[in-house]
């Protein structure tokens, strides 16, 4: 017995040598992430640190260059929460909007990805069209579009349309033509849901524009599902409806988590977000607005982080991971 045990122990000890070689190799990983780590510590951390620091100070930029900071404690936060007129209401409205938009964007992009994944004539063309917004509707183009819709709201556009809102009008017309509202009302699903769905259809241009990357991620997920699983399903006589819910949906569920989190991040960091627009406005106009705005956005950031944690926690309970060994 004793001798056997020794024999058993000996190889275990020997195994340590290759382990150290592995570790040596693993350490080479540091060289790959070095540029990120170096700049992260040297540039990004000070930026974050300063931003938090600024939110506790009053800022005075000197004429000679350089700046003075006067410590004022939690005053900026207090001002944002209790003195500033619009912040809390904008924040509440923004978060409500975010919560309503997330399921819409995720479900829409999943649906579209499933459609674009099917083999059919014209698939390449449709894919190319669907990903146009990913490439083009960002940055300056986005802000031009926004100023367009602002013009419409102010009522200065008559007769001629300037773009985005034309599609929305079309969607509106389709809705009223189909009497969707009446249809839903007859189904007795509750006015709130009806309003929500109608609101989404009215906002379809916006949703399409914001779900490009999510569609790509879903498409990648769909592509990675082994076709053999579908084949065996077909042989067993499953309909495509059953296949979707029993195979596609569980297999794609990790992607749903990724996309939900991405959607939260994307919509709350984008400039079209109303809270961000409000904060940006404070940054540019209010007295001491530059530091006040950083206090505001840090609070917003905290709330969104909490939201992400909540969503991730909730969703990860239902996620199915296929072991790929």
């Amino acid at each position: 017995m004793n001798a056997d045990a020794k024999v058993l122990v000996a190889p275990a000890k020997k195994k340590k040598k290759p382990a150290s070689l592995d570790r040596k190799k693993a350490r080479a990983g540091w060289w790959f992430v070095l540029p990120f780590v170096a700049i992260f510590i040297a540039v990004y951390v000070p930026i974050i640190f300063d931003s938090i620091r600024f939110s506790f100070h009053e800022l005075e930029i000197q004429a000679t260059g350089g700046y003075d900071l006067i410590f004022i404690g939690w005053d900026n936060y207090q001002e944002a929460l209790f003195v500033d007129a619009g912040y809390v209401t904008t924040l509440a409205a923004g978060i409500r909007q975010l919560i309503l938009d997330i399921p819409a964007i995720v479900i829409f992009s999943l649906f579209m990805a499933v459609m674009l994944n099917d083999k059919m004539p014209g698939r390449t063309l449709f894919r190319a069209i669907f990903f146009i917004p990913v490439i083009l509707s960002t940055g300056i183009i986005d802000s031009i579009d926004q100023s367009n819709s602002m013009m419409t709201y102010m009522g200065s556009t008559e007769g001629i349309s300037t773009g985005a809102e034309e599609s929305q009008t079309t969607a509106n017309e389709i809705i009223s033509a189909m009497d969707i509202q009446k249809l839903f009302a007859n189904m007795k699903v509750g006015q709130g849901l009806v309003d929500y769905v109608v609101g989404l259809v009215n906002d379809i241009y916006n949703i399409v524009n914001r779900s490009g990357v999510q569609m790509l991620i879903f498409l990648a997920g769909l592509q990675s599902i082994n076709p053999a699983i579908y084949e065996s399903c077909r042989i067993d006589g499953a309909s495509s409806w059953e296949t979707f819910w029993k195979i596609t949906f569980p297999m794609i569920s990790p992607m749903i988590l990724v996309n939900t989190i991405y959607t939260v991040i994307d919509s709350f960091t984008s400039e079209s977000n109303q809270v961000m627009a409000y904060i940006d406005n404070i940054y540019r106009t209010a007295a001491n607005g530059q530091v006040l705005s950083s206090a505001m956005s840090w609070m917003y950031f905290l709330i969104v982080i909490l939201m992400i944690a909540l969503v991730a926690g909730l969703l990860s309970m239902y996620i199915f991971y296929q072991r790929r060994d």
Partner: protein, 342 residues
């Protein structure tokens, strides 16, 4: 149906006679069944939906294109809805001439190419490091990557500006400057390409977290055996990366390059933040009304300016559109092969 008749021709050959269902019967079974109807309805529905949404995506572009050819007469003419009656090229002419389109094009091209190139390489390297090496702190670094993605740019706008306006790493430059009795204790990097380059080298520029994440997922799908084979052949870690891994990840890298290039091209956040001088002309800067076309006495001036701004937008995305139509097949390919799995 009767059982098939078997006729014996000779010893080695038999002939089987089936009673074949008529063509009409077969067609009936194939096309009049419930499942066919469901499939057909689904197909029609799918095409309707796809075409409808494509219309929603494309139509605004048409409106903008038509609007860009409109002259003032069109805007006050109530009968003009979409197609201009008095088309003119003035809008394009004055934007290109007075908003210095070509300078902006050149500057932005240099900046975007530089940033996209650096970001693609750096994000691949970082993604590879995170995907394939289990060094201590791997998870921590990944968390940091996610953090850079989550923190909104507006939050750190001011401190980013300050840090690059008075650029100094841990006071090292200030210390050296003091030793040498220099006046400036920090470097002013505003109005140069340096802030963008520094952020790109670190992989913390705009949306770089997403690129790193995508590359990491891609490399996770690359089988380890590939590298092990290279190690056995005596290649070191870096040689393996350059000679084996990079060539197979080209579709994915083109995808990243496409994203990085076009998002940098239209970016107005960093452009506004880091280029405060009016002299630095980049693409977002050309979005303004040319002085020749500015005329407040004109009744529909607001609408006209909106058309002009849309034309600026069109001029900005025109090169991107060409770029996209050329590279979009790689976009899908790269994503399809990435095998992004949670």
């Amino acid at each position: 149906m009767d059982a098939p008749k078997v006729l014996k021709d000779n010893k080695r050959k038999i002939k089987v006679e089936f009673e074949r269902t008529s063509l009409a019967e077969r067609m009936k079974v194939k096309y009049l069944s419930g499942s066919f109807a469901v499939k057909l309805i689904w197909k029609i529905f799918r095409y309707l939906l796809l075409i409808g949404i494509s219309y929603i995506i494309i139509f605004p572009f048409f409106v903008k294109i038509f609007g860009s050819f409109m002259s003032r007469d069109d805007l006050v003419d109530a009968t003009v809805r979409l197609i201009p009656k008095y088309p003119t090229l003035d809008t394009y002419k004055y934007i290109i001439r007075e908003n210095s389109y070509f300078t902006a094009f050149f500057n932005t091209f240099v900046l975007s190419t530089l940033c996209a190139f650096v970001q693609t390489i750096i994000c691949s390297i970082i993604g590879y490091g995170l995907a394939k090496f289990k060094f201590r702190g791997n998870k921590l670094v990944f968390m940091a990557v996610i953090l850079t993605m989550i923190v909104p740019h507006d939050t750190i706008k001011l401190s980013m500006y300050m840090n690059f306006k008075f650029f100094d790493i841990f006071g090292i430059y200030g210390g050296i400057a003091e030793l040498l009795n220099l006046e400036a204790t920090s470097i002013d990097l505003i109005n140069s390409y340096w802030p963008m380059v520094i952020l790109s080298i670190g992989g913390i520029a705009f949306k770089n977290g997403l690129y790193i994440f995508m590359m990491r997922q891609f490399f996770k799908g690359v089988p380890d055996e590939l590298e092990e084979a290279a190690y056995i052949d005596g290649e070191n870690v870096f040689g393996t990366f350059v000679k084996i891994i990079l060539p197979i990840s080209i579709p994915m890298m083109i995808t990243i390059f496409l994203f990085a290039f076009s998002w940098q091209w239209t970016d107005n956040f960093y452009t506004d933040l880091f280029f405060t001088q009016s002299g630095a002309i980049l693409m977002p800067r050309i979005v303004k009304v040319p002085t020749t076309l500015a005329d407040d006495s004109f009744a529909a001036q607001g609408l006209y300016e909106s058309c002009i701004k849309n034309t600026c937008g069109l001029l900005i995305i025109l090169p991107l559109l060409l770029f996209y139509s050329y590279l979009q097949k790689y976009l899908i390919q790269g994503i399809e092969r990435s095998g992004i799995v949670g």
